[in-house]
């Protein structure tokens, strides 16, 4: 301190010494902070680890809980679905988790190692179930199934005990997870309703319009289309015939005029 005012050449060297000390100290502080942050991180990680392990059943079983868990992870910049594709998504994570040696296995995500793959697998399983349901009902609904229907099918399950309680968000997530498999699966919106599409086709605007109109009453007739949409009769007939051929509507001849019903209304409110 008292050297600060040293006159002459020695003041130069003392300034250098001073800066040197400052730098040293700064570096030390930085490493300290980094070390403490790292400890915090590892503590946090082990907590998340424990949390995920103790609650993995809840995460799988309870959609609301899963949604909250997913939201927490997103807030922390952890995408547990994506982290199975990019395992470098969270650096240093794999080396941290102490107990499981499998965590360092290549190609396995942190979540796969944490939860025994249950969260990832949950969405992949759900994806497989969705594919199953879509294939089973394709002849009935032409490859378009509403999220509500799909959820009902999944909740019922194919075998005893295989029913899953899922939310619409889960289904959308799972359908997104199917994307790498090819373009066949996707989510389309018709009117106010979201549908899972399992056939690689696009509806033209007329078809989409008719399907949208179907949602009002559950059915349309040719004359309804003519009156309400100002279409010519041939146009209306052509569109419904197309939809009929693709199993996207069912025909009901029992009423006076042929009614074309959307299969989404099977069991639905009439």
């Amino acid at each position: 301190m008292d050297r600060r005012r040293t006159p002459g050449l020695s003041s130069l060297s003392s300034t250098r010494l001073q800066t040197h000390h400052y730098t040293n100290h700064g570096a030390k502080l930085r490493t300290n902070t980094a070390a403490s942050l790292e400890t915090q991180l590892s503590v946090f990680q082990s907590l998340v680890h424990n949390f995920a392990l103790t609650h993995s059943k809840d995460i799988r079983a309870n959609p609301a809980f899963r949604a909250e868990f997913a939201r927490m992870c997103t807030a922390l910049n952890i995408d547990f679905l994506a982290s199975s594709y990019h395992r470098d998504g969270k650096p240093g994570a794999a080396s941290k988790s102490s107990g499981s040696s499998s965590s360092s296995k290549s190609g396995e995500s942190i979540w796969a190692s944490l939860l025994g793959g249950s969260v990832n697998d949950f969405y992949f399983n759900l994806g497989v179930t969705i594919v199953d349901v879509c294939r089973a009902t394709r002849a009935e609904n032409g490859g378009l199934i509403s999220l509500t229907d799909l959820r009902g099918h999944i909740a019922r399950g194919r075998a005893i005990g295989s029913g899953m309680d899922v939310s619409d968000a889960d289904i959308e997530q799972a359908v997104r997870a199917l994307r790498p498999l090819g373009g066949a699966y996707g989510i389309t919106t018709i009117g106010h309703r979201k549908l899972v599409r399992s056939v690689p086709k696009e509806l033209n605007t007329d078809q989409a319009t008719v399907l949208e109109a179907c949602q009002v009453l559950g059915y349309v007739t040719v004359s309804m289309l003519c009156v309400n949409l100002d279409w010519g009769r041939p146009r209306a007939v052509a569109v419904v015939e197309d939809l009929l051929a693709e199993s996207l509507v069912w025909v009901d001849c029992a009423a006076g005029e042929k009614e074309y019903w959307s299969p989404a209304f099977i069991g639905g409110a009439v």
Partner: protein, 195 residues
Amino acid sequence: MATSAETTTAFQYPPHYSFPPFFTLQPVATTRSSQLQSWSTFIQSYCRHHRIFSLSLIDALSTPLFHNTTLSRQLALRDAKAILTWMASPEGGHRAEFISSGSKKKADESEGGRVWIYWRRPEEWAQQLEDWVDRTGQKGVVLTLYEIVEGEASAREEFAGMDMELLRMSLGVCVKRGKAQIFSSGGEGEGVKFF
């Protein structure tokens, strides 16, 4: 035949039942096959619930099975026949069989005739009977057919109150398998022995 007396719980109709076009046979092949499958499942579960073993087409048309009064939709005789024919085909898993009565087929054609609804096939019934006999230790005992269907010992079994004709067919399967022997002592009192 239709012993629907003890319908304790209401039958849970499938979601398709309240879908009007379900009662019109669909013209498009893929839709149609899915519709036939749904009908088949529905008819089987309906008959199982109400313990119906055979249907008379013409009478069944006005029952809730083929007639949804809330929707005022009814299956046409022609369509009902098509469905049952499909059920009887290998594609439909042989879940139905038209009964050719004593009179020639022409009479059946006009009024639809009678149909077995196999919510269990005779082979499956045979298996159940064998299991039951095995479980209750009645091997080697002579049982009357009446006893099997109406007896107290079988009151809790699925084949209680079963159609006699169908029982005979099922026992016929047992005989073919070499698991049973039928004694016909003339007239009513028929007996069967399992071994």
